[in-house]
């Protein structure tokens, strides 16, 4: 079984890992909202947020370097928009776009690296997020793992014959990508059949309740107050 790295991180042991998912979700959403509304001259506030997030990553006993690097995965997308913004004569706004993108990515990464997906989904349900949305997320996650598994199996098969997937021509790689989606589609259909065989009629019933502790409420209040406080004072 190919484990997803973030999934493995999420099952670690730290204060952050023990918190209720809903508490972490509210704290993360508050931070994301503050980041999204920062003006172009809020560099000090950005630096403080980056410091707080880095310290939190360390406190969560996650590998700081790898987490900070992983958070940059969104930058290629943000860079496209930043270039367009810079070319339109707003370099400050372009830089801020990149900074906001990176900080948001780091926030989301910290959340999912300290909360196993089942707990995160339960936290969303606890917050009364639309159940349809939660179910879509659940299946997205499940099928993402299916896609990763299928891609891994195909990569192994290709490497065993071609030596390295890097040696595949663009045309072969495109063909392989097509096959990957067809295989994943087949797998998804098989999963759907198995669900129907066990009585699935388009709705997954709620299974359990997650009680919120006082310490979770305290965390949420302190985190939200600090986040908004920094935003108000420094930005």
């Amino acid at each position: 079984m190919r484990h997803v790295r973030i999934d493995r991180w999420s099952r670690g042991e730290s204060y952050f890992h023990t918190l209720h998912a809903a508490a972490k979700l509210v704290a993360a959403l508050t931070l994301l909202l503050c980041i999204a509304t920062l003006s172009v001259r809020s560099l000090v506030c950005c630096a403080v947020y980056l410091m707080v997030l880095t310290v939190s990553v360390k406190a969560a006993r996650l590998p700081v370097g790898r987490v900070l690097l992983s958070a940059s995965a969104v930058l290629p997308f943000a860079v496209c928009f930043a270039i367009i913004t810079a070319l339109s004569g707003e370099p400050d706004r372009a830089a801020m776009l990149l900074i906001r993108g990176y900080l948001s990515s780091l926030t989301a990464l910290l959340l999912i690296s300290t909360t196993p997906m089942p707990d995160l989904l339960a936290g969303l349900e606890w917050l009364r997020a639309p159940r349809f949305l939660v179910q879509v997320m659940q299946f997205l996650y499940r099928y993402l793992l299916v896609l990763i598994e299928e891609a891994g199996a195909m990569r192994d098969a290709a490497e065993s014959r071609a030596g390295s997937v890097r040696s595949l021509a663009v045309r072969q790689a495109a063909g392989a990508a097509g096959v990957l989606f067809v295989r994943s589609w087949g797998r998804a259909q098989a999963i759907h059949r198995a669900m129907m065989a066990r009585g699935f009629e388009g709705h997954i019933p709620r299974f359990r309740e997650f009680p919120l502790q006082r310490s979770d409420v305290a965390f949420t209040l302190v985190a939200a107050a600090l986040t908004v406080g920094f935003r108000t004072v420094l930005a």
Partner: protein, 224 residues
């Protein structure tokens, strides 16, 4: 279970089943043998309404397969798929096993109790909180079976149950299945495994039942 003149043709025109007649009494175990593509899995998918007959009838405990009886038939016929990864779709083992009872209207408390009981039956109680995709192949198979047992079915249909299992896993599975009181339909290529659980078999050939006899006779007659 009673199947009469069951025929099924896939959308591409492939006739997968032709006039199949079959009966299975309560508590009995029968092996379904036959080459790849002979119609065994297609037949199994008809037994709990995943596929619906082009012609002919399927009935379980006197309930004919139709939209009105579908939910009850799916509760009574538990289908264990060949690839357990396809069957385990909930975030944790406990939630996955509890899915069937919840879907059939049990309260969360009852569903959890049934799930714990089923997990204990297959020796997987200690894995209740784990994510299913973190289990070994043998453990996944056991959890998949627990997911079916939690619905308290009267018939278990197992499609290639020994796939991906090592010899100790296969022996453990045979012991587990042998201890279950339900009627069982074993779709398998693994004759020694089938022999551990039953002496009776039907042989599928090109969508038809070519023989209903003992496993030994099928091995001899068809060189299986």
């Amino acid at each position: 279970m009673e199947v009469k003149s069951l025929s099924y043709t896939y959308e591409d025109g492939t006739a997968a089943l032709r006039e199949v007649d079959f009966e299975l009494e309560a508590g009995k175990t029968v092996a379904l043998l036959g080459a790849n593509g002979s119609g065994k899995t297609t037949f199994a998918l008809h037994l709990n309404g995943i596929l619906r007959a082009t012609s002919g009838t399927v009935s379980v405990d006197g309930l004919e397969m139709n939209d009105r009886n579908l939910r009850e038939i799916r509760r009574r016929v538990g289908l264990v798929f060949q690839d357990s990864d396809n069957q385990l779709f909930m975030p944790t083992v406990l939630e996955d096993v509890a899915f069937g009872p919840l879907a059939s209207g049990a309260s969360p408390g009852d569903a959890a109790e049934k799930a714990h009981t089923a997990l204990a039956k297959v020796g997987m109680g200690h894995k209740a909180g784990k994510a299913p995709w973190h289990l070994s192949a043998g453990e996944k198979k056991r959890v998949a079976i627990a997911g079916i047992l939690a619905g308290d079915p009267r018939l278990l249909v197992l499609d290639e149950p020994t796939t991906f299992l090592d010899p100790p896993g296969q022996r453990g599975l045979a012991d587990l299945l042998d201890s279950l009181p339900q009627a069982k339909l074993l779709i398998t290529h693994d004759v020694p495994f089938a022999r551990r659980l039953t002496g009776e078999a039907v042989f599928f050939q090109e969508g038809r039942i070519a023989a209903k006899t003992s496993i030994a006779a099928i091995v001899q007659e068809f060189g299986w």
